[in-house]
């Protein structure tokens, strides 16, 4: 899974597969971080007011 695991090889299959994986994980991570951070900022700026979102 990580390049420091001993079965890791820098070959095409590993790069494609793990590339895809880490790519997906980064998107999920970034998306989540964005939502959480933005919510904190929003909460501060709206002074704790609820927001209509529908």
């Amino acid at each position: 899974m990580f390049p420091f695991c001993f079965e890791w090889v820098w070959d095409m299959p590993h790069m494609v597969f793990m590339g895809g994986l880490w790519y997906a994980l980064s998107i999920i991570g970034a998306g989540l971080t964005f939502a959480v951070v933005k919510s904190i900022i929003d909460m501060k700026s709206h002074d704790g007011q609820n927001q209509e979102h529908h």
């Binding site: 079965e7 597969f17 793990m18 997906a24 998306g31 927001q51």
Partner: protein
């Protein structure tokens, strides 16, 4: 805080007593399953009737089936967020819940199924990128994470939680980035649905399962994704229909259902044509090159050629044709028959691609291998059903799952 209502505003729910009674009944089944599960963890897989010939059995079928049926989530998400079928936003919550249940169940079943559950994480840590199962494990868990993320905003819409400012903002912001998650989910789903097909298709030692490859993917890779996308929505429709029957309420407008049914119908028809082509090529080119005739694979009383007919014609072409015709979709009986047939069809396909693969003898001095699950296997397979019912019940009671419910069931 305690004064806040738990039940969403503007909808009617049954009495606490009645709900508790229902939950107790389902929980009893759940406890039975959990008991079996612990028995298996404690005593080992000898509690099952799997054997060296039948290393994959009931669970793997259940696993593949729930994932295929949970395919409604990714495909609805794809249609709603990416294609832009806004109408489907009315069922996307339910589709996500079904998906969540299916995928969490699948992961649970996998932890029961492996001989050394404490080493389960080796699949990530020591991943073999050539194995279809590795691909399944990665995409499955990632997609489960996505489903959880998709489920969270809905949970946060519970009236009591929605009062918290941070959670309120979080809901809003998560909705904002949802198309990105949905797209990621579609990407992951495409691969893991496919790699589940690949699991069987790459088995070149098993001529019943083996299929010719396109690049590194066997045909079953595409057929599995395709069939999950085609039949998953049918399971969503079936779920909605059952919920409506149980709650005795109309929850989703019929035009939404019909739209989903129409898309599903076209998917099924195209899928089954592809599946037919695949079957013909396999039966007349791939298998004979390995010394097998088609009937070699269907020579047992259990696994006879009738199965192929049921899978392709009865549970493939028939529901597909019903769903692509307007009259079929508009007739409630035909619609639901088609939906049930399609769900059965995809489940049967998964059954065949797991259990029949194991059953077919490869040597003339071997007989067909037989297998009957033990009660522990049955209990742990029913466990997700009970679990699913509990999650749906809770979600339906406390969360605004169906946006059209208020409109369809106005409270005087």
């Amino acid at each position: 805080m305690n004064g806040m209502p738990l039940i969403p505003a503007g909808v009617n729910r049954c009495s606490k007593r009645r709900f508790a009674f229902w939950m107790a009944a389902v929980t009893a089944v759940l406890v039975w399953g959990v008991y079996a599960m612990f028995l298996i963890w404690y005593k080992g897989l000898n509690q099952t009737r799997m054997n060296d010939a039948y290393g994959f059995a009931l669970w793997i079928w259940a696993d593949l089936s729930v994932i295929a049926l949970g395919g409604g989530a990714f495909f609805s998400g794809f249609l709603t967020y990416i294609v832009g079928k806004d109408k489907l936003a009315n069922i996307i919550n339910f589709a996500v819940i079904i998906g969540f249940i299916c995928y969490s169940s699948a992961l649970l079943i996998l932890t029961i199924d492996i001989g050394q559950p404490l080493r389960g994480w080796f699949i990530f840590w020591h991943a073999n990128v050539h194995s279809m199962l590795t691909e399944v494990a990665f995409c499955l868990s990632c997609y489960f994470a996505v489903l959880t993320i998709e489920f969270i905003p809905l949970i946060l819409e519970n009236p009591r939680l929605a009062k918290k400012p941070f959670l309120n903002h979080l809901t809003h912001n998560m909705h904002g980035v949802m198309p990105i998650f949905a797209a990621t989910g579609v990407f992951l789903s495409f691969f893991h649905q496919g790699s589940l097909g690949g699991v069987a298709g790459v088995l070149y030692g098993r001529p019943f399962a083996y299929r010719e490859h396109v690049f590194i993917w066997p045909w079953t890779f595409f057929l599995f994704t395709w069939s999950a996308a085609a039949c998953g929505p049918c399971f969503t429709i079936l779920g909605i229909w059952l919920t409506e029957k149980i709650t005795r309420k109309k929850l989703v407008k019929q035009d939404v259902i019909r739209l989903l049914a129409k898309i599903s119908g076209w998917m099924i028809i195209t899928y089954i044509i592809a599946k037919t082509a695949d079957t013909l090529y396999w039966a007349f080119v791939t298998a004979p090159s390995r010394g097998f005739t088609l009937m070699d694979f269907y020579s047992s009383p259990t696994y006879n050629i009738g199965l192929l007919f049921i899978e392709i014609v009865l549970c493939g072409f028939v529901p597909g044709l019903i769903l692509i015709t307007r009259k079929g979709r508009e007739n409630a009986f035909l619609l639901m028959s088609a939906v049930i047939l399609a769900v059965m069809g995809v489940s049967l396909n998964r059954w065949v691609m797991v259990l029949q693969v194991m059953a077919v003898p490869l040597f003339s001095f071997d007989d067909w291998f037989t297998y009957m699950p033990s009660w522990q296997e049955v209990a742990t397979t029913i466990l997700p059903v009970a679990y699913g019912l509990i999650v749906i019940s809770l979600a339906y009671r406390y969360l605004p799952v169906f946006p059209q419910e208020q409109e369809l069931n106005p409270i005087d």
